[in-house]
């Protein structure tokens, strides 16, 4: 099985990027943001991808981009396709909105609420998007953003567990192999 026929069919109708085939039954395509809704509708209604498996994000901080991944499943064909959309990271942090797809799949609202909380990506029309998801009373920057300092946060927030100790490899080797320094 291959996703090539589907990809070629999609390419005929939409200006889309390269196909990345992870497995014979799983592939990813990067698509322009303005093509997203049309492609999702086409895949859902014409190609059998009726199930939204998940919607998630990746923070490509070095490239100043957020990546959204919409993973769809075709039950009959037993295959998955992921659509990737790149957003300008800095603009999103400053509040630039992303279009919601809760009207295509109601479950999208839950994912969008999570993305709002964990990455700070806003989907203004999505129901309940501003309600707390799992981080009640969170005061820091969204924690899935790569500029969130996990280590600093956990050191400041959580007490160190008693009994923990660590050795520096070079210092330990000195103590074992040449304790007098020579």
């Amino acid at each position: 099985m291959t996703m090539q026929p589907l990809y070629q069919a999609l390419k005929a109708g939409f200006p889309i990027g390269e196909l990345t085939e992870q497995r014979p039954d799983l592939a990813f395509i990067t698509v322009p943001r303005e093509q997203l809704r049309g492609l999702l509708l086409h895949l859902r209604d014409q190609e059998g991808f009726t199930h939204l498996v998940l919607l998630t994000a990746v923070d490509w901080i070095e490239e100043d981009r957020f990546q959204l991944t919409y993973l769809l499943h075709d039950r009959k064909g037993a295959r998955d396709i992921g659509l990737r959309v790149m957003l300008p990271r800095q603009a999103v942090i400053e509040g630039a909105p992303m279009e919601s797809i809760h009207d295509l799949w109601p479950t999208a609202a839950t994912y969008q609420r999570e993305l709002r909380e964990m990455f700070g990506i806003d989907f203004p029309d999505s129901p309940g998007v501003n309600e707390d998801f799992i981080l009640e009373g969170w005061r820091e920057i969204p924690p899935y953003r790569r500029d969130f300092d996990t280590l600093k946060y956990s050191n400041e927030t959580f007490a160190p567990r008693p009994g923990r100790e660590s050795q520096d490899p070079a210092q330990y080797m000195k103590a074992q192999l040449y304790p007098d320094g020579a």
Binding site: T150, L151, F158, R161, R164, A170, Y172, K174, L177, A182
Partner: protein, 601 residues
């Protein structure tokens, strides 16, 4: 109501005969996905305790702990990672960065216990049922967080270098050095292996920061010969580098050279003088031999305010760094820079002063509190094969010395070199250059006793010698030098079957049916060197304790005579960096003796 509405409940009955899709025992029979990031596994034999997993962990979930089962040895700290599952978030960065791929994650994800302490464990040491599970997260092929290939060093091509003594290695530029420095994970496993324990991760970090003056400062804390060692060090540190397990070791030697290359010489002198004691002490030290051991001790002692005089028999300081190592590997002006810094510390170097001729060892002892013997190995050993007493059968060290003197002697069109070590390569490559200059072609045959893969020389020396036209023939033992009408005409060799016996003793076995003759107007012996101890005189030679033909020293380099220390190739060997380490040790030992003496008075 239609007929189908009545019948459809019955049509579902056919499912009774299908295999169920539900899992019969969902608590036990539901494995994680093949690449699931479950509980950690660590191949304890592969792990080197470099602590890179601990360094990358964003949750401070990993500690490097002492484990009874693993001993500390070069290249392995003996520590192993312990993971706190109260903090771990299973991001797998520790697996992705692991320098040996020892760390991985199984697809096991269920672990129930009443005791919270058990969830802090040392994978591979605290045995778990998932230790040998095949499935789970492994670092994908080709996915590396640290570069595994060394930045290629620019070198003169064979045709561009084969007829000149110009330095071969170009040195890294700023961009190359940063890229190479970026590959270092700063684990520090190399530090223990370096004889003088240079602060390698710290000085490499100064390249990333662009703070070269701090780099020079760190170099001078442990080594006053960074120009030299940055070029010709045997870089044993690189054999302990964590990066060597799944790629090239960091080019530590070239990075050291890069740092010292970036800072102007006058600034290097200022940095080296930081912390120098300005009030002179009344202690006087005589050092015999201006090689790396003697001059390092001189540097430390002079920096601490003691009066140091170095006596050197040859016309210029440096010892084997100048008179042994060819210029194409170590340009004289770079050695001069290192020596100049040492001189600027207040060290007096008296060249052309041979102990036993220009001044006696007894006089030295009378005029100084302590004496260091750092005379090196400047006498070539002879094979003593028939014909080897001929004047055109010479030792490699003598010939290398004459080349450094600038003597432009005539090299015959054919030369045979006996020996498979680095000195043999040095003389073969030097003579090949002179032949190209004098005759336009190379005619050097090098015969080594050892087989190709057991030859003592560095692999790059062997390869580069061949690139320059030297013919290297392994597994040949010298039989005799052929002489016709008082002139050397060739070297006869016999096939060497094995060099050592079962007990590992030197006992070469030959196949007498396989004899070859190599044309040679000059035969060079490069089979080892000896020290010349004649100047010690009879009474001191008698008084000293010896170990075979070496003076016996203790761990501090102290001989059996309270005023005399010894260091360098003559007592220890085998390389510059070991001599540097010995120099430091002896300076510290002498200063301790001064302090104890002052305490008693």
């Amino acid at each position: 109501m239609s007929l189908s509405d009545v019948l459809s409940p019955f049509s579902a009955w056919k499912n009774l005969f299908r295999d169920p899709v539900s899992i019969p025992d969902p608590l036990n029979d539901r494995p994680g996905a093949p690449r699931y990031r479950g509980f950690h596994q660590n191949d304890i034999e592969k792990c080197i305790g470099c602590g890179t997993c601990e360094a990358i962990c964003q949750n401070a979930a990993i500690d490097m702990v002492v484990v009874a089962e693993i001993a500390t040895k070069p290249g392995d700290s003996g520590l192993r990672p312990r993971i706190d599952y109260g903090r771990c978030c299973w991001c797998a960065l520790c697996v992705d960065v692991c320098m040996t791929s020892s760390l991985s994650m199984s697809n096991e994800y269920k672990w129930v216990d009443h005791d919270p302490e058990v969830f802090r464990f040392t994978p591979g040491i605290d045995l778990k049922h998932w230790d040998s599970t095949e499935l789970g997260y492994r670092r994908p092929e080709g996915h590396r967080l640290t570069g595994n290939e060394r930045v290629v060093m620019g070198e003169l091509a064979p045709e561009a270098r084969a007829d000149s003594f110009v330095e071969i290695v170009a040195g890294y530029d700023l961009e190359q050095a940063k890229l190479e420095a970026d590959r270092c994970v700063s684990c520090g496993l190399c530090v223990a292996t370096c004889p003088t324990h240079m602060a390698v991760p710290e000085y490499i970090a100064t390249i990333r920061d662009g703070d070269y003056e701090q780099g020079v400062r760190l170099l001078y804390q442990t080594n006053p010969f960074s120009n030299v060692c940055g070029r010709v060090c045997t870089h044993r540190c690189e054999t302990s580098c964590a990066a060597r397990h799944e790629g090239d070791p960091i080019a530590i030697r070239w990075l050291k050279r890069h740092i010292i290359d970036q800072v102007p010489h006058d600034r290097v002198k200022q940095i080296a003088a930081e912390g120098r004691v300005n009030e002179p002490s009344d202690h006087r030290v005589a050092i015999i031999g201006a090689g790396p051991a003697g001059l390092t001790a001189a540097f430390d002692l002079a920096k601490a305010g003691h009066g140091v005089t170095v006596f050197e028999a040859l016309p210029a300081p440096g010892g084997m760094m100048r008179y042994g190592i060819p210029e194409y590997r170590l340009p004289y002006d770079k050695l001069d820079e290192d020596v100049d810094v040492i001189r600027s510390m207040g060290v007096e170097i008296r060249c052309n002063t041979r102990i036993g001729e220009d001044i006696s060892i007894d006089q030295l002892r009378e005029q100084h509190d302590t004496v260091l013997l750092a005379i090196g190995l400047h006498q070539g050993r002879s094979t003593r094969i028939p014909g080897s007493e001929h004047e055109d059968v010479v030792s490699a060290v003598e010939l290398l010395r004459r080349i450094t003197f600038g003597e432009r002697f005539d090299v015959p069109k054919t030369v045979a070199v006996i020996g498979g070590g680095n000195v043999a390569m040095d003389i073969a490559r030097s003579l090949a250059r002179m032949q190209r200059q004098q005759h336009g072609q190379v005619g050097v045959t090098l015969v080594a006793l050892e087989a190709e893969d057991l030859m003592l020389a560095d692999r790059e020396e062997i390869d580069e010698a061949r690139e320059e036209g030297v013919v290297i023939i392994p597994s040949r033992g010298p039989r005799q030098c052929l002489i016709e009408r008082d002139a050397v005409t060739g070297l006869e060799t016999v096939h060497c079957v094995s060099v050592f016996d079962e007990q590992g003793r030197f006992a070469p076995k030959y196949d007498d049916s396989d004899i070859q003759v190599h044309d040679a107007g000059l035969v060079v012996e490069a089979i080892g060197q000896a020290a010349d101890h004649v100047f010690l005189g009879e009474s001191l030679t008698e008084a000293l304790e010896w170990e075979r033909n070496r003076i016996r020293i203790d761990a501090d380099g102290h001989t059996s005579e309270s005023w005399l220390w010894a260091a360098g190739d003559a007592v220890e060997g085998p390389d510059v960096i070991t001599a540097v380490a010995a120099g430091h040790r002896i300076a510290a030992s002498m200063m301790l003796a001064f302090a104890q003496k002052s305490g008693r008075e």
